[in-house]
Symmetry: C2
Subunit: 497 residues, 2 copies
Amino acid sequence: MKFKVKDMNIATGSVLVAVMNEKDAFKLDIHSKDRVKIIKGKKIETVVVDIAESCKTVPQGRIGLFEEVLDSLKAKNNDTIRMIPARKPLSIDSIKKKLDGKDLTKEEINQIVWDIVHNKLDSIELTYFVAAGYTKSFSMKETKWLTEAMVSHGDILKISKHPIIDKHCIGGIPGNRTTMVIVPILAAAGLAIPKTSSRSITSPAGTADTMEVLCDICVPLKKMKAIVKKINGCIVWGGAMNLAPADDKIIKVEYPLGIDAESQLLASIMAKKLSVSSTHILIDIPVGKGAKVESMREAKKLKHDFEKLGNLLGRRVKVIITDGSQPIGNGIGPALEARDVLWLFENDSRAPQDLKKKSLIMAGTILEMVGEAPPLLGYRKAKKIVESGLAYKKLIQIIKAQGARITSSKRIKLAKFSFDFTAKKTGIISKINNKSISKIARIAGAPINSSSGMYLYKHVGDKVKKGERIFTVYAESKDKIEYAKDTLKKVDGIKII
Amino acid sequence: MKFKVKDMNIATGSVLVAVMNEKDAFKLDIHSKDRVKIIKGKKIETVVVDIAESCKTVPQGRIGLFEEVLDSLKAKNNDTIRMIPARKPLSIDSIKKKLDGKDLTKEEINQIVWDIVHNKLDSIELTYFVAAGYTKSFSMKETKWLTEAMVSHGDILKISKHPIIDKHCIGGIPGNRTTMVIVPILAAAGLAIPKTSSRSITSPAGTADTMEVLCDICVPLKKMKAIVKKINGCIVWGGAMNLAPADDKIIKVEYPLGIDAESQLLASIMAKKLSVSSTHILIDIPVGKGAKVESMREAKKLKHDFEKLGNLLGRRVKVIITDGSQPIGNGIGPALEARDVLWLFENDSRAPQDLKKKSLIMAGTILEMVGEAPPLLGYRKAKKIVESGLAYKKLIQIIKAQGARITSSKRIKLAKFSFDFTAKKTGIISKINNKSISKIARIAGAPINSSSGMYLYKHVGDKVKKGERIFTVYAESKDKIEYAKDTLKKVDGIKII
């Protein structure tokens, strides 16, 4: 069947699509989401069909193509192409199988991930896969295969060092910028830690956003390899790389409902670690109200599953469950969090002690895992590396290797508008709500406005006097300050007893 | 926030969408599938956001709008509009709740259906709803609410007659055109039967396709009402009406995976019946290989669920489980099936006896249900109505009321190319595969080419001699004949022992 091309003048950015007029589709017995092959000369592309009811969109006798397909076929408006029906991707049957609660084989899982990475699945089909993973459990074996498939259908960072360290935190806690403390400590101790981090999606800052205050974070794989080879560590944005890319596509269809399918979460996290060839991995599960994991029961199950999966994948995985009941550190927002980290390394008295302690425990645990410190003595070794200034030197090295912008806390600028939130009565702070703190910092502008956010002077258990500052909100406009003030009236943020 | 409109020159045909450039979306902290309000003057429309990565699709500072939104706002290219963030539809939380396996309230279900009908849910969100219904069961109470919501968010046919009859067949059996026999019988008996039927989706003919050979099937609600008022019965295409329209939108996202969520299936079927105000409903579940229901266990569960749901909805529902192991009737394809029906009413010796018998049983059962025949005597009464010519007269009345095209079997034309499939050996036919028969008839051109399909001379249990015709395939081109011949070699169609 021959058609004339209509250039839709749009890039879909994902699955390859062709739009047919309803009447043509009916005649050819083609339905929405069926596959067809589009042929021009020697070039062939398999695409998903969308049906247009209106002639204005695509008239009869024409086929609407998007940028990606036009480029691949080297076709342009009014060209003639041939179209023949094609089979649906094999993985659709496997997705249905999983939705029916049946186990998948290694090959089936591999095919699904291949199809996801290569944009062969339409968003409806991908949603069924996520829904299947959410409602029906994957076995550990399946999760292992899913992890391996995610790794193999993407780039892999290979470094000729051993061990290779990684760490991960199941998020939800404002502040909590431990990565930026741990990486310099371990790299200073001679361990390779090629760290990729993410930007914030719904929080006031991700590690990538915070590191970006100090230096570039978009580092190509080759340069990343060179940096780690030379100075052991880096902190780059994983989103700019093609490491285990299936994950990003899965997250996109999870976002509308705000769900996390556990097996897919486990696989996604482990795949990111394996794609940088990590051998030893520390996972932090903060538990508390407003954290991603709210119950100890859930945390313990996740710990068990991570350790089991790590074992199956032949990696040393250690999981720690930590206090996630309140923010860690004082700054919330990219610049404010970066300043906390610099203060910590500069041995400044304003450095947040909770962030320091948690980071040292985690770095110490890793030092013990790899035998760089005897059991129970990792914390002490990590502390020495920080207080001797070695970790600071390493951080500066990393910042410089990634195109330094700022290397000293003095050069960090905060947003020019601010207001103080003060205690309404004298007493002890009994609760700081993670979600409310995140919300206010985001409303103030973080992470988009990197110098916005809030600074906490108090933590749970601290005494306050009536009228004393509890936190300061920073924003780049008066409007945002007012909006943050309004929100503060509505949310249940800080409790004093 | 102000934007300039870019007219995307496309109608989406479903959910209202606005496309933003990735950089604008990032700045405003808006994600794909978030909702925003688009404001122009006094007009406001809430839409789903899609993110464009390329400037060619939508450059920064502009917002891409589709026909539906442009029309509703009376906006055109380069107009300036205001955009503000909006909340997601309430039903998204309910869909997540169901995906978590929790029961929904009547209000939650009603809101979901409202949002579906009014195109407020994106296809990903709708897919989660279908997946939730497929993997987690709805209680009977929930299914009742779902049915009622589907009915109330659509048109309703109100007829001042009692009882009002409907029937439904859970498909999968080629031929099986009982509706076109039952409706005239019951209407001739004085019963109101405002029948809406569907076109084929994956079969060689639906009742609507077959009726269309004889007359118009796109009948507006008002005309349908007038016809039923005057002559008791009609057979129209439900797809052209707005009766329980949520169903069509659900079917669209079920199609890519080919799944049926049982509660949604029950609700969809019952909603179509309730939307024409039926009081007495007969449901036929054919069981057999290649039918939609393949096991007796499944059929019995479905029977039980239909009867229970009917009870909850205050309707008399009777379910019969019938033999679905082979095609019913001889013709397969719109014209061939219409000819079978006409032969049956014309008391022609070529009329298929299996179709006649099944239709009389079903019509008789309904006559007994409503008290128009004493128990066990319904069949006899139905037979009399057919053989006396009263039913034929009624069919002609219906055909004429719907704009007659053909009223006599003699005027039905078949496709001009054909070939005979003959027995390879002498013996008894032990199996006729429903799926293979459907496939060959579709490949021959049915239902798109209404005069194509196949005609069966033999059924299971019949004797054949080597070389004797088993069926004839009809098609409008030699190519299709060749293609059908090729397919015949590959499929497991007819077995002779």
